[in-house]
């Protein structure tokens, strides 16, 4: 099976669907990374506040 992406034998419809799937996956990964960092940021801020107060 030819796995080359520039294999133009794929139909336009198949290529558009593949585009949206890859875009969706990248958006999901980005959202996951962002909310993890955001959660960590808030946690660290809270700890620093507690540390200052203590």
């Amino acid at each position: 099976m030819n796995t080359m992406l520039h294999d133009l034998s794929r139909t336009a419809g198949q290529r558009v669907i593949a585009d949206f799937i890859v875009m969706g996956v990248i958006l999901l990964v980005w959202a996951g990374v962002f909310f993890y960092l955001f959660h960590l940021d808030r946690k660290v801020r809270a700890l620093m506040k507690k540390d200052k107060a203590g």
């Binding site: 992406l5 958006l27 980005w30 959202a31 962002f34 940021d41 660290v44 540390d51």
Partner: protein, 216 residues
């Protein structure tokens, strides 16, 4: 907090624009999209190594643990982004050239870079004694960064490479469709902000850990 959500929206728009707004480059077809992730990751890696070196130089002047910790954090982030750039490059290689790894000059030079900075982290974990570790790591880090311009910008241009022309080609021209350039620059800015955010976050965690360790 507001800027963080702006970054989220910004990068989400970059991802969508990369697929729906920017045209495909000639010969790259769908793999064009990797430009908006692979190059910014490589850029952030170089930036992180540079920041790390600046803190290592500062450490040798100030002898403060703050500079040593910041140098280590930035080197770790540089290594992380270099790994991500290598992985995304390997995906590109598989799609365009048929194999994940081809020992292309650019692949080989980035592998050397990974080994050099991997050794920096190994050195840090192998040396006991905070001052000795910080001093040795700072000197090694400065020497390590000397190799970065050669491995990233010079060596891959000296030999025949399958890698597409860099953004600024051999003639010093910037050949990119205006829409692609817009998305690319937006991605570059987004990744840079993301790096500084993670750097700051890691630094605050390191400071908290240090305070806990020093607490009686």
């Amino acid at each position: 907090m507001v800027w963080q959500f702006l970054l989220f929206v910004w990068m989400s728009l970059v991802i969508v624009a990369g697929f729906l707004y920017a045209p495909l480059a000639e010969k790259l077809y769908e793999m064009t999209r990797i430009i908006y992730f692979h190059i910014p990751m490589a850029w952030v890696a170089v930036l992180a190594f540079l920041v790390s070196t600046v803190f290592s130089i500062r450490y040798l002047v100030t002898r403060s643990w703050v500079d040593d910790a910041r140098a280590a954090i930035s080197a770790k982030l540089g290594l992380l982004f270099a790994v991500l750039a290598t992985v995304s490059g390997a995906i590109f290689a598989k799609a365009m050239w048929g194999a994940f790894w081809n020992w292309d000059p650019r692949e080989t030079s980035v592998l050397l870079l990974l080994l050099i900075y991997g050794a920096y982290l190994t050195l840090r974990s192998a040396v006991e004694g905070e001052d000795k570790r910080a001093r040795l790591a700072a000197v090694y880090n400065i020497i390590a960064f000397v190799t970065v311009p050669f491995l990233v910008f010079v060596v891959p241009r000296l030999y025949f490479s399958l890698h597409p022309d860099p953004l600024l080609n051999a003639q010093g021209r910037l050949e990119m469709h205006p829409r692609m350039l817009q998305v690319f620059l937006a991605s570059l800015a987004g990744f840079t902000v993301l790096y500084f955010w993670i750097f700051d976050l890691s630094w605050r965690v390191a400071r908290l850990k240090r305070k806990q360790e020093e607490a009686p």
